[in-house]
């Protein structure tokens, strides 16, 4: 193959691997604030781009909008063959305009359209599904959904319309099923082929239609009644357990969490499940032998809950490897728990290892004592034994849950004084304690899973109840340890603490460097020099601090240091011959000075002898 052809092939391969959008084969696009697709419209634009590839033209897409406390406010216009789905009706909010125009097969599901939403306009479209949405408080002049006469096969199923102007303005072919119309100005303004069944009307200023539909409420046998939302004023449109709309829906749309059919946005096969945790759980021991515990809690108001799951454990993480877990049927909110663990026995003493020094701390480590639920660390600057345990500083209790499931628990004894010797001991403590928690469960036959679609998160966990007295082991130790600071390698100094540095104002001044070099070469190479340096390192910072406090001292100190600096420079950099010459010069000068002195002395003595005066 010629090189040129090979290059073309290589380029083509590169184009195919890099030019094609990588998500083209994926059929779910996630919209998340701060993510790759922060708005629904940006995800739709991506769908359009992908479909420009001929192989992807008919690909079905799901745009999954992540729940977010803040509403998605950017308007969007869906394209055909697309599902736009919130991750939960109660947690995914929209205030953006939705325009569905000239498209087919579009689903809008699991959203809460709230105040500020200008309305959903459907025109010239077919096979549109609007399911499991809440439209609430849009304003007295707002219309939640408008369907024009050119649209067909529009299904509005399991939706809740509350406190709006007009809930639905239908001119085309529209099917309504399992919907709740609650306190709207007008429920349905119909001018087209509207089919209604299993829907619930209450408190609307006008229902807008004479025939509320097949199996709708109210009817000839069932008068109008409040649908009993959990909190309509608070925006929670879940049904209470006593709601007349619970289980009264179209049987073909079974709830996702049980085999009945609820009317409204939280019913049907695509409803999201938001189980409110149980509240007001209290626990107490009954003082029996063997010990039993009584639990009481507040009843749930959620219609779909069929039972409560009780967890009992020896620590506050009650659902993790619980000692007991059982179901209490709905309708019961109190339960006596027996078969509790017995009172503890004294654990074996732990074996404390030699404390490891650290900066202002000692790192302690000991062997785990089976059965221990906590350890107590004693420490003091004076020696002690098992009969004279120190109370000051106060002993430190350490719960085993904070130490991790390890064979050798460790603890950092902090806030100590460096250089001080500490005596340290540790002992194990065993105490039987029980904790309890309760969850609300929809299907009690499914495995325990708090916080799932089938089971609420745990209730409040009351304080643990202790059974029997606490049991203590003997102490291990005391052992000694001396905290000390960690030294970096290399153990370099910070700058600016010595006299020359203070006088010259800069650690790297050439004069300071000369003195430093002199120290390394002429002082640190012999014992007297090292002793002098050690002395200076001890007292130098004091002088430096004084100079820094009195800046006017800097010029005279520099002047005083000048001979030292000059001498250092000469000794460091002058050739040996010059040093010898200087030495000889100094010797000669010294001898000359002595000679002059002696001569003057002799002269004075001679003058005294001849009778002169001093």
């Amino acid at each position: 193959m010629k090189l040129k052809n090979f290059a073309y092939l290589l380029a083509a391969a590169l184009y195919l691997t890099t030019a094609a959008p990588s998500p083209a084969l994926a059929d779910t696009i996630v919209v998340q604030r701060g993510g790759t697709y922060p708005t629904i419209q940006s995800a739709i634009e991506h769908v359009k781009t992908v479909r420009q590839q001929p192989l992807n033209a008919s690909l079905q897409f799901t745009i999954q909008v992540q729940a977010d406390p803040a509403a998605y406010a950017d308007a969007f216009t869906p394209v055909s063959n697309i599902d736009i789905v919130g991750t939960s009706t109660s947690g995914t909010f929209l205030t953006s305009a939705v325009t569905i125009s000239g498209v087919q097969s579009v689903t809008i599901r699991n959203f809460t359209f709230k105040s500020g939403f200008p309305g959903m306009a459907i025109s010239g479209s077919s096979n549109i599904e609007i399911t499991n949405n809440v439209f609430s408080n849009l304003g007295t002049n707002a219309t939640a959904i408008s369907v024009d006469s050119a649209s067909s096969s529009v299904s509005i199923i399991n939706d809740t319309f509350a406190s709006n102007g007009t809930a639905i303005n239908a001119r085309g072919s529209v099917t309504l099923d399992n919907d709740i119309f609650y306190r709207n100005s007008t429920a349905i303004n119909s001018g087209g082929a509207v089919t209604i069944s299993y829907s619930y009307f209450f408190g609307n200023a006008a229902n807008g239609i004479a025939d509320l539909g097949f199996h709708s409420f109210p009817n000839t046998t069932t008068p109008a009644a409040d649908p009993l939302f959990v909190s309509a004023d608070g925006g929670d449109f879940h049904l209470q357990s006593a709601s007349p709309a619970a289980g009264a829906g179209d049987p073909q749309y079974k709830n996702s969490f049980n085999s009945t059919s609820d009317i409204g946005a939280y019913g049907g096969p695509n409803s999201d499940i938001l189980l409110t945790p149980i509240t007001n759980l209290t626990s107490k021991l009954l003082g029996t032998t063997p010990e039993t515990m009584e639990l009481d809690w507040a009843a749930t108001s959620i219609a779909t809950v069929t039972g409560y799951r009780v967890y009992v454990n020896s620590n506050s993480n009650v659902a993790v490897s619980p000692l007991q877990s059982f179901i209490v049927p709905i309708g019961t909110t109190t339960r006596t728990v027996d078969n509790l663990p017995p009172a503890a026995t004294a654990p074996d003493p732990p074996v404390l290892a030699a404390p490891a020094p650290a900066n202002q701390a000692l790192q302690l480590s000991w062997s785990r004592s089976p059965g221990a639920t906590s350890y107590v660390i004693y420490f003091s600057t004076t020696s002690f034994d098992a009969n004279s345990l120190p109370t000051s500083p106060a002993p430190i209790p350490v719960d085993v849950s904070s130490l991790g499931d390890v064979l050798h628990p460790s603890y950092k004894l902090a806030n100590l004084v460096n250089g001080q010797t500490y005596f340290v001991a540790v002992k194990a403590v065993a105490q039987t304690t029980v904790f309890a928690g309760v969850t609300a469960v929809i299907d009690t036959t499914l495995p325990a899973n708090p916080g799932s679609n089938n089971e609420s998160a745990l209730s409040n966990i009351p304080p643990g109840l202790t059974i029997g007295a606490s049991q203590e082991s003997g102490i291990s130790g005391p052992l000694t340890g001396v905290p000390e600071p960690v030294v970096p390698y290399p153990n370099v100094k910070g700058e600016g603490c010595f006299i020359a540095t203070a006088a010259y104002g800069c650690y790297s001044a050439p004069q300071v460097q000369a003195l430093r070099d002199f120290r390394d070469r002429y002082l640190l190479t012999n014992a007297p020099g090292r002793a002098f340096v050690a002395w200076y390192y001890h007292y130098g910072p004091i002088g430096a601090h004084f100079i820094n406090l009195h800046p006017w001292l800097k010029p005279p100190v520099r002047l005083a240091l000048l001979p030292l600096v000059a001498g250092s420079l000469f000794l460091l950099h002058a050739p040996p011959a010059a040093k010898v010459a200087l030495l000889l010069f100094l010797i000669v000068a010294g001898l000359w000075r002595v000679k002059i002195g002696l001569e003057k002395k002799v002269q004075r003595k001679m003058m005294l002898r001849v009778g002169g005066v001093k």
Partner: protein
């Protein structure tokens, strides 16, 4: 060996085959971007930081008075994380991050005799201001700077001939006359005081690879 030397000498000769249109101006500035390994002079480095070297990254900007002579400023950064030690026992303890950042002022001579010369050896050196910082976890930081010097040498490999059209575009669009791949060795000496009344060389040997752009 003789053949290798001969080949190198030949590469120093102007590359006539790469001849291009003569450019009206000559580059006066150069920018280097380089990275490599730093081998500290301190003898026990690997004991505390787990390796006898660490990554070093830097750059340089210089002005060319002549094609053979330039002066400039350069800087680099290297960091290592490991443990410190206890003064009393010498045993390793704690977590320490040591960082060094030498800033150099340098002069440099280049063996360049023609703009098309493939290999350009160079040699330089100058003043070094060594900034250092040791951070001890949960304890504090020791930092400072000391004077020193450095010497460096290496070879610059002209890359224009690999893609003459790209080279021409770089010149036309960005004013970049030449692009060199550089390989460099550097020795730094900067003595800092230690707490235990001595000093330690915070320098060492660096081995760099990188690119130099002349403009």
């Amino acid at each position: 060996m003789k053949k290798i030397l001969l080949a190198i000498v030949l590469m120093l000769i102007p590359q006539l085959v790469l001849a291009a249109d003569a450019r009206p101006d000559r580059p006066h500035w150069s920018l280097e971007l380089k990275g490599g390994a730093f081998f500290p002079n301190a003898s026990d480095w690997s004991k505390f930081y787990g390796s006898s070297y660490m990554g070093e990254y830097g750059g340089a900007l210089s002005y060319k008075f002549l094609r053979q002579f330039e002066a400039g400023i350069s800087g680099s950064f290297a960091s290592a994380s490991g443990s410190g030690f206890l003064q009393s026992s010498g045993q390793t303890s704690g977590n320490v991050t040591f960082q060094r950042a030498p800033v150099d002022v340098f002069v440099l001579a280049r063996g360049i005799f023609n703009e098309k010369q493939l290999l350009v050896p160079y040699l330089g050196g100058g003043y070094t201001r060594m900034f250092y910082r040791a951070e001890i976890q949960d304890q504090g930081t020791v930092q400072g700077s000391v004077n020193g010097f450095h010497g460096r040498s290496g070879v610059q490999i002209l890359m224009d001939g690999l893609d003459p059209s790209a080279s021409e575009s770089l010149y036309r669009d960005f004013g970049v006359h030449h692009t060199y791949f550089i390989m460099e060795g550097k020795y730094t000496r900067a003595m800092a005081d230690t707490v235990s009344a001595g000093s330690v060389n915070l320098g060492g040997i660096s081995a760099f690879g990188g690119f130099m752009f002349e403009f």
